[in-house]
Amino acid sequence: MEKKWEEMSSDEKQEVLFQSWVSPEGVEFASPETEKLYKERATRFKDALQLKKLPDRVPVFLIPSFAPAFYSGLTPREVMYDLDKIKPAWKKFYLDFQPDAHGGCAVPAPIKFLEILDFKLYKWPGNGVSPETTYQCIEGEYMKADEYDAFIHDPLYFFYYTWPSRVFGALEPLETLPPLAGLTEMYGVAGPFIPYGTPPVQAAYKAILEAGNEALKWAVVVGSFDKEMPALGFPAYQVGATKAPFDVIGDTLRGTKGIMLDMYRQPDKLIQAMEALTPIYIQLGVGAAKQAGCPLIFMPLHKGADGFLSDEQFKKFYWPTLRKVIMGLVDEGVVPFIWAEGGYNSRLEVIRDLPKGKTAWLFDLTDIVKAKKALSGIACVAGNMPMDLLTVGTPQDARNHAKKLIDTCGKGGGYILANGAFFDEVKWENLKAIVDFVKEYGIYK
C-alpha cells in the first residue's frame, strides 16, 4: 500500500518529487528522442544533486537574465511590455545553446502590471532606466525602525496592508483600512466596510483587479513555456524560489543601511522578526515544489556575502533562520538550490552544517575549488563563469576555464557547471564554447 505523504521520511519525499520530475505526467514529448533527452538530462541532474552516484557527465545549465531578449535583438522593455515577444526569444535561446535544463521565461513582471500599481521598489526599462537596460532596485525603509513590534506581532497583516500601501503608489489608501475584526453583531457589521465605499479605496481595489488581469496574462505565457519546454527535451532547473529571512527584511523592508543599523541598535527584535518569517518562507518553497512536482527551489542569497557581515554577524543573524528555512524545505523533500551571490569564501565552514545530499549551492565570486572541497560529500556544488570571461574573453579562454573547472570540481561527481551571476549581453560564442565543451569533455569514464 502506498504511503501517505505525511508518513514519508524526507528521503522518501525527495525521491517522490525527483521521480515526478524525471518522469513527468501529461507531457506530450515531441518525439521518442526528445523524451529520451529529457529523461537523460533530468537523471544527470538528480545524480549530481543526490551525491549517491556519478552522473553520466557533468551537467551544465545557464541562468540568463535578459540575455534571451538581447540574443534575439530585443530590448528588455520590449519583452516586459509585449508579452508575445517572450516565448519565441526564450525558446530560441535554449534551442540554440542546448544547456541541460531551462529556467523558465519569467522575465520580471509585465510593465503594464507595474504601471497600474505604480510600483516604487524598482525602476524598470522606460521608467527611470533606459529601455535597453535591466530593472534596478531602489532600496528604502519601507518598514520603519520602530515598526518591529507590529511586524513581529502579525507579519502577514504587514505584508497584506502596510507594505503594499508603501511600495505601490496606487495602493496607498490600503494603509487606513480597519481590520474586519471590528464586525460585531447586526449593529456593527456595516461599520468596517465604510472605507470601501469611498473613492480612494475603490480606486485602489480597481487597480488590484486590473493588475490581476495583467498578472494572469503573464502567468499564461510563463505557464505555457514551462509546459512546452519539457516536450522539447528540457527539464526545469527550478520551479519556484524562496529567501533567507535576513534578506526578506534587508532587501525589501528595512533596506541595507536599515538592517545593518538594526543589528547594533535592536538585535533581539531583528532576530524575532526573522523567526516570524521562517515558517512563511518554508511554506513558499514547499508549496511551489509540490504544485510543480519537482524538488528544485531556488534561494538567491544577498546580504550574507563576504564583507557584508562579519563572521560573528553571519553566525548570529544570517545563518540561523536561513538554516531553519533550508531544513524546513529539506524535511518536505525539497532540494534547495542555494545561490550564494557575491563571495562566500568566509562562509564555507559555517554552511557545511547541513545533511548529506539534500542541498545544492551555486557560487558566484567564491573560490569554487575551495567550495567543492569544503562541501564534498555534503552538498552539490555549482558554478561559475566569471563576468569578465563572458564579456571580454575569447572562446578559447572560455574552453580553458571550463576544462579547469571540470578537472578540479568535476572529480567525484556532485558538481554542475553554471554561471554564478545573471548575464544580459555577453559574447554569445563564449557561452556556446562552454556548453559544447562540457558535453565533450565532461563525461565521466
Binding site: T133, E139, M260, M263, Y264, L309, S310, Q313, D388, T391
Partner: protein, 210 residues
C-alpha cells in the same frame, strides 16, 4: 577626555560617544577639536576595515554615529574653519547604473580621510563627468558601477575624458561588484579598488600623501 571620544566612536559605542560629545560641548570644548577627534576615530575604523576586523556594517554604523556627532557640533561652530584638504575627487555611478550604496561608502571614507569629493550621483552621463573635471580641476576621478553594462559606460566615460584632452590630467579608479583586472584593462582605467579603503589608498598614493 579627548581619547574617550576617539575610542568610543572607533569601538562603535553609539550612546557613549554621543554622550561624551554632548558633555564636551556643554563644557565649552572647541567644536572643531571634537570633529577632529571624530575623524581620528574614523581613521581607526578605516584601518580595522583594511585589516579585516571591521566589515561594511561597521563602516555604515560608524558613519551614522559620525553624522549624529556632526549634527550636534556644527551649529556651535562660530565660523567655517578652513579644513585642510588632500585633494579633489570627482565621483559617480556611471550611465545606466543606479547603484549607490558602494559609491556612498567610498565617498564617505574619502571625505573622512581628507579629500574633497564631488558626488555626481547615479546614472551619470560621460559628459557630466567631463564638465565637472573641467570645473573643479580635480586630479582624481572615481567611477562606480555594479551591473555588467557599467563596463561599457566606464570605457565610454574614460574615452570622453580623453576626447576632451584631459586624460593625462587625471587618474581614474573604478570599482564595483564585478570589476577585475581584466575589466580595468578593458575600460582604460588606471586602477580598480576592490573596496572602500583600497580606494582611499589609491587616492592618497595619487596625491603623494600615502
Amino acid at each position: 577626555m579627548a581619547k574617550d571620544l576617539v575610542i568610543t566612536l572607533a569601538d562603535l559605542k553609539e550612546k557613549e560617544a554621543l554622550g561624551i560629545a554632548q558633555d564636551r560641548l556643554n563644557k565649552g570644548d572647541d567644536p572643531i577639536k571634537i570633529l577632529d577627534d571624530a575623524r581620528q576615530a574614523m581613521e581607526i575604523v578605516g584601518k580595522r576595515f583594511t585589516s579585516g576586523d571591521y566589515f561594511i556594517p561597521d563602516l555604515i554604523y560608524s558613519g551614522e554615529i559620525l553624522k549624529e556627532i556632526t549634527d550636534m557640533v556644527k551649529p556651535k561652530i562660530a565660523k567655517a574653519g578652513e579644513v585642510k584638504r588632500l585633494g579633489k575627487v570627482v565621483f559617480g555611478t556611471v550611465a545606466g547604473d543606479i547603484h549607490d550604496i558602494g559609491k556612498d561608502i567610498v565617498i564617505f571614507m574619502l571625505d573622512v580621510n581628507g579629500f574633497e569629493v564631488y558626488d555626481l550621483g547615479v546614472d551619470v552621463p560621460a559628459q557630466k563627468f567631463v564638465e565637472k573635471i573641467k570645473e573643479t580641476e580635480a586630479p582624481i576621478v572615481g567611477l562606480s558601477g555594479f551591473l555588467s553594462l557599467a563596463f561599457d559606460s566606464m570605457k565610454q566615460t574614460i574615452e570622453a575624458i580623453k576626447a576632451a584632452g584631459m586624460r593625462d590630467k587625471v587618474k581614474v579608479m573604478i570599482g564595483g561588484g564585478q570589476i577585475t583586472e581584466e575589466i580595468k584593462k578593458y575600460t582604460g582605467a588606471d586602477a580598480y579598488g576592490k573596496d572602500a579603503m583600497a580606494g582611499v589608498s589609491l587616492a592618497k598614493k595619487w596625491v603623494g600623501a600615502g
